[in-house]
Amino acid sequence: MSTTQTTAPSTSAIVTGAGTGAGVRGEGKEPRRPFGKYFRETGWRHLVGVVATVFALFPLLYVISASLNPGGTLLTANSLFSSFDFGSYVELFQNPSQPYGAWFMNTLVIGLITSALTVLLGALAAYSFSRMRFKGRRFTLTALLVVQMFPQMLAMVAIFLLMVTISDIFPAIGLNTQIGLIMVYLGGALGANTYLMYGFFNTVPASIDEAAKIDGAGHARIFFTIILRLVAPILAVVGLLSFIGTCSEFVLASVILIDPDKQTLAVGLYRFVSDEFSKNWSVFAAGAVLAAILPVALFLALQKYIVGGLTAGSVK
């Protein structure tokens, strides 16, 4: 490490960088700086970046390596990438007491249906808030915000007892059914999502609606054919966030789904790993990698939208 380095010049580099760097960067033929200067200005940033990246990545590399080490225990998983075998992935689907395939499909189905309906319900509500003026509009909007202070997770006992009661009347949508769980999730469909969408709906100029109305389009046609397409990015964000959130939800899923072959990945994998913690570590690791692939891929693909959506809510 360069001995001349202190914190003062490095912070000044940040500040001045914004102003002067822009012109230099495009040319790409910056005269080569001496190493000391280079390190003071940008080199140390790479050092920090590498450290942070290692911190971020090593648990992920560890779990991937563990999953490629069939028959491995917690202890044998420690020698990283010592073998390269997909045996654990095969074993994952062969144990009837731990129906991974069913968990995976359940999670996918519950996640997809919940997120699709969440987007629909949220968009319907956001449309009415954004485009219609009616009595109680402000009140409803505020009420939605207030209700969010009591998240569903807090009401887990009440929801459990409610589902028990529903089971007595309609066993098909009560306790231990996936439809029941989806309905519970839909209880949280409005709220934060509506606010996110409401803000985005407002950015679509109302003159578009009016033009369509003059051309003779009804409210439903305006909503389904015009507005929904213009707000597609926010629909993607809400759908994705809802999908990822549903996939990793544990509390309500564990309370409502009882049979092992009805459970989701979060509940199933937790039970699996807490039963035989260190023994079947490589099988668990394989399960974790498979379960994570879809959310991570979706996240990276739609990264731009998500980051925009996350900050759009409050950073004005």
Binding site: A52, A77, V157, A211, A288
Partner: protein, 538 residues
Amino acid sequence: MTITQDPEHGTTAPTTPRHRRAARMAEAAGGGWVLVLTKIVLLGLILALAVYTALVLSRTDQWVAAVIVVLVALLAVWVYMGRGRLPAKYLMPGLIFLFVFQVFAALYTGYVAFTNYSTGHNASKASAVNALMLSAQERVPDSPSYKLTIVDQLGELSFLVTDPDGDVQIGGEERPLQEVSDAEMQAGKAVGLPGYTTLKFGDIVAQQEKIADMSVPLSSDPNDGVLRTPDGSTAYAYTSKLVYDDAAGTMTDTRSGVVYKDVGTGAFTADDGTQLKPGWQINVGFDNFARAFSEESIRGPFLQVLVWTFVFAILSVFTCFALGLFLAIVFNDPRMKSKKYYRVLMILPYAFPGFLSALVWAGMMNQEFGFLNVVLFNGADIPWLTNEWLAKFSIILVNLWLGFPYMFLICTGALQSIPDDVQEAARVDGASAWQVFRSIKLPLLLVAVAPLLISSFAFNFNNFSLIYMLTGGGPRDITAGVNVGATDILITMVYKVAFVGSTSDYGLASAFSIIIFILVATISVIAFRRTKALEDLN
């Protein structure tokens, strides 16, 4: 996006399948008899369903619920059949789910918090009486044994018994014994009956538990007792040693002569204070809250959990924000190359499902075999998750891993949106780099991210999956009267009190839920007020 083209495509020339689908949807939404018919059919179905539900509810005397169900269905018909009422048409589907599964659930939590609903108190008084009588069954001493054959009809098992006098009777669960005359006899024992299949030995073994649980009433009067079988070939008469006196509302143990009275605690209680369980559900007022704050064995752990919840939430936000901001500043230099790659790699922990990360970290932090001890610390024996203080540290560390990418993302966004001219003006005025950061960048950044910090606090306040998956709340505090450990936060405590272990205390758990709600609501209101003030200042 080509806005001007869309209406054209929708009406005249649907080109792509997506356009065509949209056009069809619009056609349907615009009117037409098909739509009206569908609407009527759907609403009819909803009404029929509502009436059915109401009938079922009214059979168990739940009149209020029955009336509400019918009213909501009628409201739906009124909203969707009439013209106008547009906002209601768009809002109703979402609001119904919101009301049932969030608003009602919240209110019901409040109600349960004021009851003694728990493992021993989970039903109405009448069913508690029944359960008590059933569980107190004892074999009648010196009573005759009945020769028994178990028969099956359409999957329902029955007892075919021959009493000592040679009379043959049949009966089943909740079906009192009845005389039959056409049974097939073998050595003085009825072994079959037309219309029924006799179970063979193998079948009896296979359904052993079910058969052992069966109790067949001797007659329609419950005081006569029931027949039970230990082995599937002989049945004995059992009667309850408890007798319920409906008029006085007391339970009497016929064996010991002790009288158990209903003294208003939700269970039959003897003079010496012993209670018969199960009891029934009653309103206990503020008892659950009082227990949380005054009962020694609950107050201690509860207050400790409360403090740790705050410490955890504050430290999580602070550490993640600090690291995220630091990295955002480091990477906010246009001269630095390949920032994009760092960014993608650093986002990965945030994209990886949280519950899986916690489970993976739990494996890595295992004391004997974990990666951290065996490889990084070269075989050290550090109790990452089993020492009270180290477990707390580990939780903060793992949460930092999970949460810093998010803070990094939003700080980067906020930093980039700070206008350059403000900074330049400050520098022209002779401010040092640190001063520019301290007095210009940081305040502007805080204004932008403050609401996100508050919601991050609220999220971590209820960060169930991290705590539950990483340490399970442990290490367990054995002296506590409730099942909690050193790293439990309030929400995991609620879950454990209500659903983990052999006993569940729904009343106490709901009371904790209400306390969490009050705390979070108070903090959010104060915090949002203050950020508003912050915004006004700038």
